[in-house]
Every structure is written in structure tokens, then in C-alpha cells.
Subunit: 373 residues, 2 copies
């Protein structure tokens, strides 16, 4: 494999671990959050902005890039890193999640997933082999296998059948990999059924994956099942390889999952919320649209050092939002991504220095979150 | 007055002049182009971006800020500079142009202009006095008088009546000015009638304006009348005060007008075109939407040093445009504003060093412009 993952330190009070992940595009410390660059751009910020905040790895979406501008275009232009001007690492998802969310516009078979493009309705087939090939062409540092993200609720029969297929697809993915230099992560499914999750991990462990992702959580199963499954699966995964909890999540989810021992995360929450005017602060979320901020002379978060907070007031950010100014989306995204970066950095420091007092308070975060929506 | 304007050098081959304009927020060299920040934000770029390109003065719109967020809000938050985080100079227009473009939603009387807000339909009255007061509250470095921008075509009777009223409004504006520390520029109108333009200048010269703007050009009168009037009025204006050609224009217009002896310019062309995918290059305009750019590995302009051109390909910019990504608007705006900055800088250098060979070629620019649309 062409990544190297090392657990540098383990937290004494939880399953959390400090890791070092080396990819062909640099080394980063884990646990780490990856901003989502769906269409080859993290919405409303530039690669320079991401670097300045501190990010070293982002996620991009195979499905979207495959449809537009097309994989051949990106390959001909030197791969995704060069195409989007991003010098850090890139993890690409398999497209499975996007395809499956198309609902009636797709059908699953043993072969793969047939779907209609959301752009022009054209018919496409994504197979496990093709998805690996696409990600090789993109030049991703970390590729994901094609899987089915089981919706919630799903009955036991469906979950069993689907999980078994995901495992068969995982095997085909690795068999089709042209070179072991392509880092591929397996994906654990199984819905909310512990024994299915356990069997899935057991099956995947027979294959030489470079790391493991956990999918199908945070899809509507509710707080308690989410926590239960997240923790349960983490304990089944090998300690020597990176663990990636897909599509998660809110600040409190990240804190919980880091304690469970996950290393990598991605979610559209910080960027999407930013464009909707929902901002994370050290005192809970705020909705910048509210009238109370019309003359608020304070920065979004007084403890934050980002470009938005060091130079602009809540009143101005609100004005930009109300006036539909692009700069509003930009500044709010810079802030929310800084909040997420800082949150992860606090946890990394907490583990590194063995200081529980440096950890953000999960309970507090949840409470504030609920209170200010 | 609280600005100081000095002509540093005159061009030998034309009426162009190199000037130094000192405002309460810094000193800049003229001829200078001011990016337009309609709603207290130059669309799709931050104050940091503007500074990095080299801009030291921007224009903002009284009409828009008056309606949203409201002048009292901006005043309470410490004025427009602080509100929008811009440390450079700001010229505010009077709102006359915006109000007059409302058409049926406004009516002009001797008192001022009554209009309905484009936001909520509420009725407002802008008088010459109120417009000066608003700009004082905003803390503009350069304020403009309320005027009527005469549409084209307009018959001689209407143009005469309107120009006379604009002069009476100009007098009321200066009389209402609370302090001579508020820099106010008069506006020359008169349509396409040379004698009306001449009389207007004569009347305004009796008043202690800190500079003069020329309005009502580039409103559909066509190339030859535009050039004729632009040149004619420039020669009537005093040499010791700044001359501002309002709302102009395309690169070739700027080159022509600088040669006529104008010092200040503003226009939405570079920023608006950027968001529409029309980019200025040293080889003419390009429309990034075109299929020919799908795999174009070159920067937008190989001679440009902006962040967009140093880091991204035409193919990527096109992809961002087609995918509706905000980053596309941002990068294209950075590029077009850099093109305009560099264009002015070439002319400043040309005058400073007395080198005609450094000037951009106007004729060439016009031709390219026509050819590539």
C-alpha cells in the first residue's frame, strides 16, 4: 500500500488514538476531519483558504466528477490534485452513497448499480471494478469500494442480503485493483444489526484492505442506535489500520466517535450550514439570519482566530447573508471549517498531552446545539 | 476639504496625467479604477483579495446601503469602512443613478426623487440634502451629489430642464454639507449637447467642489458621441482637481478616457462579466463556457500573475462555471479585477516613465473585444 498509518499515542480515558497518516501527498495527524469537495471544489473556499485553516486532506465525490467534467478529462489534465489545484491528500468516495440516494432512478444488481444521471438522465452502470478504476484515474490517495449504504429502516432480510453483496463487491474491488499502490478502504455495512456488522467485519478482514470505513450510520437510526453501533463496530476493527466513520457528523458526534477510536471523518455539515447561515461557536450554534444580530458588533465567535472572526462583525455577516452576497457564503464557510478544524485539533492535543481537560465537552455541545436551533 | 489631489506628471502625447490622491484612508496613484461594492461587498472577493491585487479605493452604493441594512445600522457600527472591513478609501455614489433606473417606480420633482424600494415597495424620498447627510453618516472618503443621469435619447428641452435642476441640486448639496471635511464631487450632466455640458461645467465651477464627475455617458449614445463628449468635457474641467468618469467602462474606454485626462473610474464590467464567465486576457476576451476550454490546460491568461492564473487551468475554471461552484465566481472575479488593475498600472507606468510603448493599445483592444464576443 502507498499509505502508512501509525498509531502514535492512545488515550487513557477512552478508545481515542493519535495517529499519523502518510499519503503520497503529505502527512497528517489523526483524528482528522475532511472537508467535502463534492464537485472538485470545497464549496465557497479555495485551496489556499483550506491550507490556511490547516487542512491537509479533503474528500471528493467520484459520482459527481464521473458525470462532470468526466474522468477522462481529469485524467488527461494530470489527475484530480492538479485539476483542482490541491496539493494535499484526497480521499474519494465510491459514489455508492450518491447513486443510492437517487431512489427510483437506480437499480441494484449483483453486477453493480445502474442509474440515471441527475444532470441529463443518461443511463450509467457503476460496478465495483469500474469504481476502483475511476479512482485510480483520478489519482486519489485513498479510494473507497463500491458499497450499498443500507437505508434506515431496513428489515433483517434486506440488510443481510445487501451486506453480503457489499462484501462480494469488496472482494471484486480488491481483485480488480491494478496495483497495490492504490490504497483501498473496505466499508462495513450491516444496518443496525450487530451480528451482521460483526460478520461483515469478519469477512472484510480476510481481504488485504489498507483501512476500514464504517457506513450506513447517521442515516436516521436515532441517537442511541447511532452511538451503540458506532462504538460496537469500532471495537471490532483492527488497531493498526485507519478507521473512517463516513458522513459523520455534528460536533458532538465527532467527539463521541473519536473517543470510540475513529480516525477519519467527513461531512457536509460545516460547509452546507455555513451557506445557510448556521454557524458553530464556542457557545453553541447561532443562526445569523436572526434580527438580534442586525447591530451585533461582535465577531461570530470571540474565541476564534479565523479571517472571518478577526475582521468582520455578526452584523456584517448577517447583512451579507440577507443581501445574498457571495462573500457571506465564503466567510461563513471559512469560519465553520475553522471551527471543525479547531475541534479536531483540541482532541488531538488532548490525546497528545494526555490532558482530558483540553477535550471539548460533548454533553455541553449537545445541549447547546439543541438549545439554539 | 479632507482630500488632497496633486498632479504629479503630465503625459506629453495626450491629456493623461499621473496624480496622487490622498484621502483620510490612504494615498493612491491615479488614474485609478475603483471596483464596485454595491451592497458593501465587492461581489465574490474579500477586502484581503482586493488589497492583494493592489486596490486602494472602492466604490459603494448609497441607494443599496440606505435600503439595506440601513444607514443608521452602519453609522452605529462605526461607519462603512469598519462595517465592511475595508481599510482603504471609499467613494459612494449618490444613489441617483440607481433611483432613476427604477423607471416607473420613481418620480422627480424639484425637491428630490421619490421612489419605491426594489426590496419591499416602501416609498422613500431622496433629496440632495439627505444624500449628503447619508454619505456623511457612512463616512465616505468621497461623496457625490444627487443628480439626474439623463437617459439617451433625451430631447433638448428635457436635457436643459434636467441639467438646470441637477445644478440647483448641486448648490443645495454643498449648502447642506455640515463640514468642509466632507469631500463632495459635483456631477456634470447635459446629455449629448455640448453647450449644455459647457454651461453645466460653468455653473458647477462657481461652487467649491473638491472634484468633478462626468455622468450620463456610456448610456447608449454610441461610440462616436461617447468619445466626443468624454473628450469635450474633460477639456472644460479644472486641472487641479480630480476628474471622475462615472460608470465607465470597457478596457478600451478606460484607455481612451485616461488619454482625455480622467483620473477615476468605476464599472461593474470586470466583476459582473466574471460571474458570467467572460474573462479579459492580454489576447482579448474569452468566454469560459465554450466547449473548446473543456481540456484547456493553460491558465486564463499566460501573462497574468493573479491567484487564478498561477494555480488553475481554463479547464478547471470552466468546470467550476458549468457546475455552478461559488469558487468559479471568486477566481474569475480575482482574475478580471487583476486585469483591470494591471491595465491601469500599465498606463500609470507609461505616464510616469514617459514611455508610450508601455501603454496598452486601444485600437487593438477594441478589435479583439469585438472579435471574441
Amino acid at each position: 500500500m502507498s499509505i502508512k498509518f501509525t498509531v502514535v499515542k492512545k488515550d487513557k480515558s477512552s478508545g481515542a488514538r493519535l495517529g499519523k497518516l502518510k499519503t503520497p501527498h503529505g502527512t497528517l495527524e489523526t483524528p482528522a476531519f475532511m472537508p467535502v469537495g463534492t464537485q472538485g471544489s470545497v464549496k465557497a473556499v479555495s485551496p489556499k483558504d483550506l491550507r490556511e485553516i490547516g487542512y491537509k486532506m479533503i474528500l471528493s465525490n467520484t459520482y459527481h466528477l464521473y458525470l462532470r467534467p468526466g474522468v477522462d478529462v481529469i485524467r488527461d489534465l494530470g489527475g484530480l490534485h492538479r485539476f483542482m489545484g490541491w496539493k494535499g491528500s484526497i480521499l474519494t468516495d465510491s459514489g455508492g452513497f450518491q447513486v443510492l440516494s437517487l431512489g427510483a432512478m437506480r437499480s441494484i444488481s449483483e453486477e453493480g448499480v445502474r442509474f440515471q444521471s441527475h444532470l441529463d438522465g443518461a443511463s450509467h452502470l457503476l460496478t465495483p471494478e469500474k469504481v476502483i478504476e475511476i479512482q485510480a484515474a483520478l489519482g486519489s490517495d485513498l479510494s473507497m469500494v463500491l458499497d450499498e449504504c443500507i437505508p434506515y429502516p431496513a428489515n433483517r432480510d434486506y440488510a443481510t442480503e445487501s451486506t453480503d453483496r457489499t462484501v462480494r463487491w469488496a472482494r471484486r474491488s480488491l481483485e480488480s485493483r491494478g496495483s497495490e499502490n492504490q490504497t483501498v478502504l473496505g466499508i462495513v455495512q450491516g444496518g443496525v444489526y450487530p451480528d451482521l456488522r460483526e460478520q461483515c467485519v469478519k469477512d472484510l478482514l480476510e481481504l488485504p484492505f489498507d483501512g476500514f470505513a464504517v457506513g450506513g450510520l447517521g442515516v436516521g437510526e436515532g441517537e442511541s442506535q447511532f452511538c451503540e453501533m458506532t462504538k460496537f463496530v469500532a471495537n471490532l476493527l483492527p488497531k493498526d489500520r485507519p478507521r473512517y466513520l463516513m458522513g459523520v457528523g455534528r460536533p458532538q458526534d465527532l467527539i463521541f466517535a473519536v473517543r470510540c477510536g475513529y480516525d477519519l471523518f467527513d461531512c457536509v455539515i460545516p460547509t452546507r450550514n455555513a451557506r445557510n447561515g448556521t454557524l458553530f461557536t464556542s457557545k453553541g450554534k447561532i443562526n445569523i439570519k436572526r434580527t438580534e444580530f442586525t447591530r451585533d458588533d461582535r465577531p461570530v465567535d470571540e474565541t476564534c482566530e479565523c479571517y472571518c472572526c478577526k475582521n468582520f462583525t455578526r452584523a456584517y455577516i448577517r447583512h451579507l447573508y440577507m443581501a445574498g452576497e457571495i462573500l457571506g457564503s465564503h466567510l461563513q464557510t471559512v469560519h465553520n471549517l475553522t471551527y471543525y478544524y479547531d475541534l479536531m485539533e483540541k482532541m488531538r492535543t488532548g490525546i497528545r498531552e494526555g490532558r482530558v481537560d483540553l477535550w471539548p465537552s460533548e454533553a455541553e455541545s449537545v445541549m447547546q446545539d439543541a438549545g439554539s436551533e
